[in-house]
Symmetry: C2
């Protein structure tokens, strides 16, 4: 990609972040934590002006006939501002990943290799309506020693600009932290977004946070390194050895506690030994909670209210109160089904037979496996990562829920005392 293909605006923003990143990578934890406190305090102090800016966005969105759901996400209530500042303080309290020695060993010639975690450099995040992401991502990037390039949606532009200005102003008040550590792209055009996707010289990692449309655009266009938060067609396999009360809890929790998220269960696979007695009972309970069931032939034999599952049902992420159900002959058939239809995000098993549980844990080719617990725990907060960056469905770099560590890489630091390679 030649430089001329990138507009001056986006390039300038990225270049400022790149320059700042040379300084942010060396900041001590103390200095970074002080910066986060300064930002949280500044946001607290700027509540009124932030809400005034947000009112402009909300008004324009209403005039444009934006949906109530989207306007709700866009609105910066007092409670959400408090949520933002408390998220920043949570990030401050997390351990600093930078400097962590991941591995280390000496070689026969006396050189010693340390593998040390360090900041990636410049992290870019593209996100949608919710303006609180602006502050949360800025905090995550700073804490991990990165400079940030933020690209929110046009619908939240006034709010995002106001938040970014408060952050920059707060950083100006600190001697040690570069003022340009957090950059907002103020050009809301699609072209500007595409230019960011091609700013290979300046961006070390791009994380898209948003719906399938955004993810598809990033997949098709990005030449910068990305970590993708993709689909979650999650399965639960209930083995013949399962504790049946536990199985019921886990299936019901997985399907009904929050059906719209990527860690909700979409397909239930049941061992044939459980088809006659347990399966009809759990389906009755799910139906009582409003769940529509789409079953295979065997399921419909034992529970005739089920609709007939089509092949497409096995690969659909419903994100709704719908459950596909299939009776399998055992673990192998369950694994083959998941291998064929899954999206490699999160899968669960309920089993008391340790051999079955261990083999499932080993054989499943997904980011996370849940043994005798709910797939709903596939979440950065539930993993203990504090503020979540997303859930990676790729295998390289990060897999599953992503925390601060996902914003770092590992460097080989080799210490010697004059060794040279003879060869």
């Amino acid at each position: 990609m030649s430089e001329t293909a990138i507009s001056e605006t986006v390039i300038e923003v990225c270049r400022r972040a790149r320059e700042a990143s040379a300084a942010t990578r060396e900041l001590t934890t103390q200095v970074k934590d002080r910066a986060l406190v300064a930002i949280a305090d500044a946001i607290d102090a700027a509540r009124e002006s932030l809400q005034a800016a947000n009112a402009l966005d909300v008004e324009a969105a209403r005039a444009a006939g934006t949906s109530a759901t989207l306007i709700d996400r866009l609105t910066l209530t007092d409670r959400r501002i408090t949520g933002m500042t408390s998220a920043i303080r949570t990030v401050r309290d997390l351990p600093d990943p930078v400097g962590q020695v991941v591995d280390g060993w000496s070689r026969p010639n006396g050189i010693h290799i340390d593998q040390v975690r360090e900041p990636l450099g410049v992290v870019a995040v593209i996100y949608e309506a919710r303006p609180n992401v602006t502050a949360e991502v800025a905090a995550l990037c700073l804490k991990s020693g990165n400079a940030a390039v933020l690209r929110g949606s046009s619908i939240a532009m006034h709010t995002n600009v106001a938040i970014a200005d408060v952050i920059t102003e707060a950083l100006r008040g600190l001697d040690d932290v570069p003022d340009d550590a957090v950059q907002l792209i103020r050009d809301a055009s699609r072209d500007a977004a595409l230019e960011l996707l091609h700013a290979d010289e300046y961006i070390d990692l791009l994380v898209p946070r948003g719906g399938p449309g955004l993810i598809a655009t990033v997949r098709e266009n990005a030449t910068v390194p990305t970590v993708i938060d993709g689909d979650g067609n999650c399965h639960v396999y209930v083995d013949a050895s399962a504790d049946l009360a536990m199985a019921t809890d886990i299936v019901v929790n997985g399907k009904t506690s929050r059906p719209s998220v990527c860690n909700a269960v979409e397909t239930l696979l049941v061992h044939e030994d459980l088809a006659d007695e347990w399966l009809p009972k759990v389906l009755d309970e799910l139906q009582g909670l409003g769940v529509e069931v789409r079953g295979d032939v065997r399921t419909r034999q034992v529970w005739p209210s089920a609709a007939e599952a089509q092949d497409s049902d096995w690969s659909t992420e419903y994100l709704d109160l719908i459950l596909a159900v299939r009776v399998v002959s055992g673990l192998d058939e369950a694994l083959a089904h998941i291998n064929r239809y899954g999206t490699r995000n999160a899968e669960g098993i309920v089993a008391q037979d340790i051999a079955v549980a261990q083999r499932f844990a080993r054989a499943i080719d997904s980011g996370s496996v849940f043994v005798n617990t709910s797939t709903r725990y596939s979440d950065g907060g539930e993993f203990g990562y504090g503020v979540e960056i997303g859930v990676s469905t790729q295998k390289l770099h990060s897999r599953g829920p992503m925390g601060l560590q996902s914003l770092t890489c590992v460097k080989n630091v080799v210490w010697g005392s004059g060794q040279i390679r003879v060869l």
Copy 2:
């Protein structure tokens, strides 16, 4: 990418590997090691037929007027066959990365998270003339529990087919290992290579091993995940605090021991305090070893035989007996120079001042940093990885020399006892 865009041949090869990978991921270390021994023994036993196949390639290459260097790389001498089998036995002796628990912790609700290393799935490698890569890569992939898709160059096709057939035959003789674990693409066309670059559904990682042309093709076209072994414009900074005898050794070793490789030194940065006395001496010594020096103004003042360095010299990976030399005011200027012109591969420092050495080690944004030792150690073998896959110049997934671990990813295995998420 629709399936119709991928030819039946390449797709069939990739699909067979994908199917085999479901079995290879579960193989125990014992079984994998047995497979490697079987392959090494089979290659030993097939020396004559391998060399006969190789003779066809060499003859055709000679007839086509191929360069002597390339014909040398292509030729499968008896010694190289022994090299191949001993590389396979080296890989057998390496620790199995699969099953390694990278991290693990319990959450307040009692769930326990283990982060466990596991095979990526299907690893594809595109490589050039040297047919011994076929067997070495097959061994690395098998040991790490992956299925392999290999794509050598047309010039070595007879040899590669013969080696792949020996491997498959050896695997057929084992009960536990899928026969299709190692697949060779037998279509030497550019189209077949491009199809492999787009086989997203089947390939978990592609590693291109070869020259700048191959790397550029992969960078521009691949939609499958890749790890790139890129340029090595390596620097050594000699600080005022350096042990000068050590500095001379490290600079001379870095530049002259093997100038054609990516860990050779291309630019020497010297603290101004050393410009008058030490610098001319080391440049004399380098000149005596046939090195051409291109210096900045200050260098040419103290050592007039130096040619004038152009701006392009600072960003050139010579891979030859040429050295760019610049006198800097100190660490900051050295870091700024490396940050501006470097390729983020490997950089060295010679310094006795611990503060200078530590800051360099922290601030450098490259895969590896060498403190008081030669950048020539940036190498999988020297790091203790046995057979090398390459040296990654990217930040995500793997950075620096790559061993078996680079062919694995980490899965979150969450153990519970019935916990569900109430929210």
